[in-house]
């Protein structure tokens, strides 16, 4: 099998599972399809030799964020029967808007000129841990440290929000 065929099959599976996220009625099924989409995107990363990003994508997205979503879904105990319905007119309008967005993006990207040829780069190991770590701790060390502040802010915010208040507003 050629790489072209593998990439096409993986791309089709990615789009299919992403469509099922939007189309499936049950919220839990939607979450599971999103996990499948993340695995497909990770396989695309592996195909592009971005191994570190592929593993981190599985750990962070499929492992942490999606478990959090699933946990909240189970906690709220949402059923299929009280899943809110959307009117037919809004559905048609949304699909038209999405199609228009896709058309505009493709039309804008179509005329973009890709400057460098990939054949210039023959040693394609920039996606490995050693190279990424070196870059992260030299050139991008300040954003890396600032992102830890963001994490602390998010953690404190989540705890503050989820804490049950003494008096509830009726």
């Amino acid at each position: 099998m050629s790489l072209e065929l593998i990439a096409t099959i993986l791309g089709g599976l990615t789009v299919g599972s992403a469509l099922m996220v939007v189309l499936s009625k049950h919220p839990v099924r939607s979450v599971l399809y999103l996990v499948l989409t993340f695995f497909m995107i990770s396989s695309n990363y592996i195909l592009m030799n971005a191994q570190f990003i592929a593993v981190v994508n599985i750990i962070v997205y499929a492992g942490a964020i999606m478990v959090l979503f699933l946990f909240v879904l189970m906690l709220l105990n949402l059923k299929q029967e009280n899943e809110p319905r959307t009117s037919f007119l809004i559905k048609i309008a949304s699909v038209l808007a999405g199609g228009a967005l896709f058309t505009v993006f493709i039309a804008a990207l179509k005329d973009g000129v890709v400057i460098a040829a990939s054949s210039v780069v023959e040693a394609n190991d920039q996606g490995l841990v050693q190279n990424l770590g070196q870059l992260l701790f030299t050139k991008y060390v300040l954003p890396f440290e600032v992102s830890s502040v963001l994490f602390i802010a998010a953690m404190v915010g989540a705890v503050m929000l989820a804490k049950r208040e003494k008096q509830m507003i009726d």
């Binding site: 999103l34 990939s118 929000l161």
Partner: protein, 109 residues
């Protein structure tokens, strides 16, 4: 045939541009169509991931690792956003007993 040579073996960068745009559009349609707030947050994650895919594709294509560092930071922001968004959602559910975004209209007056 090595995995590193995907862009030398006939797969064009345009393929990944179309794929990422398609995923982004599906996420945008999901935000517009669905009314469950949790699914809305999931569709936003899908849109963020489509951008990640395009960044990694260009990073591999140009042979520069900077795009993959940006993917790393997008993941950090997405994780923080998901935690805060979900805790706001749990708070709203506690007060309103629903996750339907059409019913979050207490501020309307």
């Amino acid at each position: 045939m090595t995995l590193a040579g995907i862009f030398q073996s006939g797969v064009s960068i345009q393929f990944y541009m179309v794929l990422a745009t398609l995923l982004f559009s599906i996420g945008a349609v999901g935000v517009l169509v669905r009314r469950n707030a949790i699914i809305l947050l999931m569709c936003i994650e899908l849109m963020l991931n489509s951008v990640n895919l395009l960044l990694v594709a260009f990073s591999t294509y140009f042979g520069k690792a900077d795009g993959q560092i940006f993917v790393f930071f997008i993941m950090v922001v997405a994780a923080a956003e998901a935690t805060v968004g979900l805790s706001i959602l749990v708070m709203a559910y506690r007060n309103l007993r629903t996750t339907d975004v059409g019913l979050f209209n207490k501020l309307k007056g």
